[in-house]
Symmetry: D2
């Protein structure tokens, strides 16, 4: 009995940080979620033949290539995962859609607003499933936060504070690299999208933005820095809620500072990815003397936890977020129904990023609708 | 042997929240800090004779009055503590200085920028010791934070994030009162000064401000609300550091959210008044594998702790901050040397508050120097 | 109108750590709690005339002496606070009771079980108010914990885990001193009583004990160590609940580790004195998905908080515990009704300590009732 | 170039909680750790044919059976994972060893001491690789703790405190089941082994034990309870260190309370599985004023982290522990060298468990060497 399983050939572009994460996820997702579509690691692509072959062997793919077009057009490759640098996202996605294949693309959607727009157009034109890799919002804790807010548990949201802070460039003597070059690789391009997406998911559309985007260490050993080290912004949501965000790659001491506080008229939520298995919830209920923030440990009672472990508090990790994404991508392919976040959602993030850059340059509030 | 102790007659204006705190502090400070000047609780003043008499008896004053002028001009009253509402600060302070008496004034300095300016002028004209009640920066932890930053332990400061958040008006059904009336009693008037003072103390002068000041619940049972519920601002410090602040009286779940994070090029500091005996310090030193934020429990090794307890981690509380203030005020009187923060420092805070209000109204960056 | 206040002459024995704490407390308690009896710092006693005089001046006493008998028999001294080393507690207390005076004695009650017994007998014979200085159980948080348990909020208690751990002797090279000499000054004599008292207060009488008491560093620079560095015990409460405790003066990193966990059939409580303004409460109520430990910040809704501050989360500290004790002692004197914990309660603690020492030596369970 | 990969047929017994975890782990481990041996999910076994078939399909096995002997003797099954209830461990392991196959067995090793002994004998006789499923000690944090202690970073260990506490039977109305029946399924049989193994790994062999093992709720809806709800013990390690442990399945509020504190003469370590990506380290180094427990977030600098994620603080979860185990088991098979913990280590744990049961019954200290 049971559902008829079907194999699906997966092609992954890029074998680095995220290329590996998605490969592992595709290897594990079937067993974890009992998906109807069962991934077959068909082909992997990297810049050089040797590394491509190395990745193939390590992650267990059938074939390797250093030519992304080959992968995209290979008949056995039925779904595409883009885990290459931002500058390459657009052309690969366009080709994949043209070839009639579903595309999962790592964040940020495109390297520029224009790229992101073109990618959405290509996705729509193709009618293919498409998704963007905003993984942090997919932890059981953040999914639950989203539910709680949507269900009105904390009342009407009055304030959102969010940050995405890490410290991999905190040391002023860390050398210049491709990461310190080009807007798409700066903090607004690379880190901010995660938390902007988080803000949109938790609170809703952003109406206007006032930002400061800044390069703190303008030169580093090895050359000049052409993108931003950190940035802050004040926002106004469509709902009327106020917002405040901060993004940084020089936040000394912060390793995975994807953190937010949502304040409502009847409660509040706090979350920090550095303790990703806890969600803190305050409710204005019951005796004043027993009120406080409750540290809820995620467990089978929370979204997408049980598939990983039957015991509460046993915890999920970074890799598990990617497995959840894989499940969603397969489901979008299987059902033909878009699964959030699609390329459109990626574009919405890109618009806020662009509004922030413009605001910072012009030192004025910018309406996202004008972007 | 030893120093010759001298009694000093203290007059306290206001017997409420802070009037009591200062009365207790004056009763205890001599024993705690072995001060040379020993306070005698000479006279207390409140709006009505009955409550004044009640406070006199409760706190142990010699005399009571409902006429602040009487207190100010009483010969046995040698030093004045103003713990009445903001609107009264200016005239009382001016009278006290005119009478040649040292003045400690609760925050905010004046009810308006003009009041604050006049109060500084009066203080200078009189040459009398003068101090403002920014007590939170006086915990052993925050004093130590200030030292660490000044000593360069965290390198050059690149970012400051601060908040002063409470939730006493979070409930939209909490009735209107004098607290919801008048700029001086709103969040920018009432709560923000503490953290702005903290920012100035920890990082240095603020050059410019971009703010949003907002009334979320414009009407409450009992009437319209004429002041702000919460506010945020982006700032630029003279040092070049970026800053971000948030202030709220509707921050559901936050009870004493005086909290800050200071990021430097070689370390970082985090503090939250809701755990006021801990300071979190990160230093980019030693093996990467053993780095992290260290939770330092305050103890005799930290400023102004030992007088309260010889054991580390045993903890100080809110009242102890006021005792530290009392010690400083007595010392300013004894030595004739100003003790930080003086009225001038209170004015500096008022200028930033004013700049923020102007910025919010005009939706543009405002230079504090232009205020 | 109002209650007629009455002055009461206080005599404090010892001007060190706790002598100072009680002196400050007596200076402040009237203003804090509006007590009917108003302490007058009448006389202080220390071992040497110079230090006694120095303490007198520092804390603001009228007179000083180096002869404890003089203090005890002085007519203006109406109540006695014993803050001298444990070996002196008995003879001073006996003399004070014989002189018909109320006695507050620092923990532990006596230096030995025999001393404690004699002191209880003396107290009873005199009919005078008597109290022991178990201050930690008097924080608003721990008082509230006691209430919650008594009210059945966590159901039937099944397990108690407690510790009193500090690290002032963690360094093996810390020199020998009077503290490393004599059972009364070891960890079981000096630190354990606080948490044993806590256990008795929170859970009820202890029926039997199985313990291990140990000297880890038998010799230190300057001489041999004759008392214990740390100790653990398993206990059974009269109620049937199981218990586990640990005490240490060599617990590297622990500064004020008075901490406990109480587990019941419907909830649980956790507390750590190093964050003394928080109580953590779990209740098996409501949706599984929103359960967790709630961090309750103490505030006016909790016992004995409001007198120190009207704002929740603003926090009390070590010194405030002693002020609460002072209020209770004055109240016992005023009303003639014993206030917990009396000398009898101190003896109950001493019996458990004795049972533990015996158990450790004989390596067997010992019934407290047999002591 | 590169290592020649080799497929290995895996047979998993049991498809429940742990059967699934091991199946997922075997699906993912190759991609995560680039293992030389590449698992092929050959056959899965469960009690009933339907569920076996269901597991087969869900986890992606080739074949299914309800006869464990069939699986054990199948030629394509080259390595055996036992994830069935404790009562079955012995006979399956014996058969597997007899068939000349490597065995990974879930904890506890056997259902009784006799079983565990027999299993070690069978393992030795066969010469096959063998491992026991103590997964919690395999987190990057706990592995790092082990390293730090072994490297002497915290000096000589003076005290160990450990617990394994959960609350799945905290509700007295939770019905009786197989879990409440038989010593092997009680708290000492089921939960304690994890933390006893942790203690052995972190501190070394345990010399003697004094324990209390208790059934709190002797009857539950549906029948009598024949095993223990919670247990505590005092231990003495061979090294001379003192130890204290607590185990519970009725620890209301605790979800995954695998937690320990290790105190040494020069530092201390604290860990709680409910925040499994943090290790707290205190070192008696540097200025007293900057000492405290450092919260170290695990990252690429820590054991077995980098394979899961290149970013520090991004976090691993429960499933990742099982993947680490899978890597180790494959490595043991590949190299023919035993990987800790082997069946011998499982037996050592069983001996401590047995000593504790005996101690509790006889109310006396029991030497583990006598077991
Ligand atoms: N969601 C998340 O948590 C994260 C997302 N990312 C995103 O993932 C993407 C990849 O980043 P990383 O994995 O960190 O980069 P990486 O530098 O670790 O790996 C990039 C891979 O792309 C390959 N590649 C580069 N150019 C190529 C080309 N023209 N054709 C074929 N292959 C090419 C390289 O050979 C390499 O294997 C980026 O868009 C980045 O923003 C990165 C890290 C975390
Ligand atoms: N530093 C801190 O943590 C805090 C500072 N404050 C500041 O302390 C001041 C007092 O605030 P609260 O104590 O909360 O007020 P409160 O309302 O509790 O007490 C005010 C007192 O002033 C007296 N008063 C009012 N008008 C008077 C007049 N014209 N003449 C004589 N007495 C008069 C009242 O009778 C009352 O005794 C304010 O400036 C406030 O901003 C307040 C709370 C905390
Ligand atoms: N409740 C708590 O948190 C604490 C309680 N204690 C207890 O308080 C008591 C005092 O301890 P500390 O203040 O730490 O000691 P300390 O050494 O700081 O002070 C002891 C004082 O007693 C005086 N003294 C000693 N022998 C005397 C004598 N025969 N006659 C008159 N004065 C004499 C000394 O001159 C000195 O002033 C002890 O029983 C101790 O166990 C100590 C610390 C904390
Ligand atoms: N390391 C860890 O974190 C954990 C370890 N365990 C251990 O794992 C083992 C399995 O426990 P769970 O997975 O929780 O049990 P479970 O009840 O979820 O699954 C047991 C499986 O074994 C199968 N089974 C039972 N008897 C069988 C037989 N005679 N022949 C073939 N299959 C049989 C059942 O059909 C079922 O698929 C136990 O030894 C347990 O102590 C369990 C949970 C967590």
């Amino acid at each position: 009995g049971g559902t008829a399983l079907r194999e699906i050939g997966i092609g992954v572009l890029g074998g680095g940080y995220m290329g590996k994460a998605h490969s592992v996820a595709m290897a594990a997702v079937g067993a974890v979620f009992a998906t109807t579509l069962r991934p077959r690691l068909e082909m992997i692509c990297a810049s050089r033949p040797e590394t491509a072959e190395q990745y193939r062997q390590q992650y267990g793919f059938g074939r390797a290539t250093d030519d992304w077009r080959k992968l995209v057009h290979d008949d056995a490759v039925e779904a595409i995962i883009i885990a290459t640098p931002q500058q390459t996202h657009r052309q690969i996605a366009e080709a994949a859609f043209a070839a009639g294949k579903p595309v999962f693309c790592e964040k940020p959607l495109g390297a520029s607003l224009a790229d992101s727009r073109a990618m959405v157009a290509a996705a729509l034109a193709s009618g293919q499933p498409n998704m963007v890799g905003f993984n942090y919002i997919r932890t059981p804790a953040s999914q639950f936060a989203r539910q709680l807010i949507a269900d009105g548990v904390i009342g009407d949201v009055t304030m959102f504070r969010g940050e995405h802070t890490e410290d991999f460039y905190a040391d002023p003597d860390a050398p210049a690299s491709w990461r310190t070059d080009g807007t798409a690789n700066g903090t607004m391009g690379d880190l901010a999208p995660h938390m902007i997406n988080g803000a949109l998911a938790l609170i809703g559309p952003i109406k206007s933005v006032m930002a400061e985007v800044e390069t703190v260490h303008a030169s580093r050993p090895g050359g000049a820095v052409t993108n931003d080290d950190h940035a802050q912004m004040m926002v106004r949501f469509d709902s009327g809620a106020m917002g405040q965000m901060y993004f940084s790659r020089i936040a000394t001491g912060r390793k995975m500072g994807y953190a937010y506080e949502v304040t409502g008229t009847r409660g509040a939520i706090r979350f920090d990815q550095e303790d990703q298995n806890s969600l803190w919830l305050y409710r204005s209920e019951g005796d004043e003397a027993t009120r406080g923030f409750t540290r809820i440990l995620t467990g089978p009672a929370h979204p997408d936890y049980q598939a990983f472990c039957q015991g509460p508090g046993h915890g999920t990790g970074y890799q598990d977020q990617i497995i959840i994404e894989a499940r969603d991508f397969l489901q979008a392919i299987e059902t033909g129904k878009p699964v959030w976040p699609t390329f459109r959602d990626g574009l919405e993030v890109a618009q806020v990023v662009h509004a922030a850059l413009e605001s910072s340059e012009q030192r004025r509030w910018v309406d996202v609708g004008d972007i």
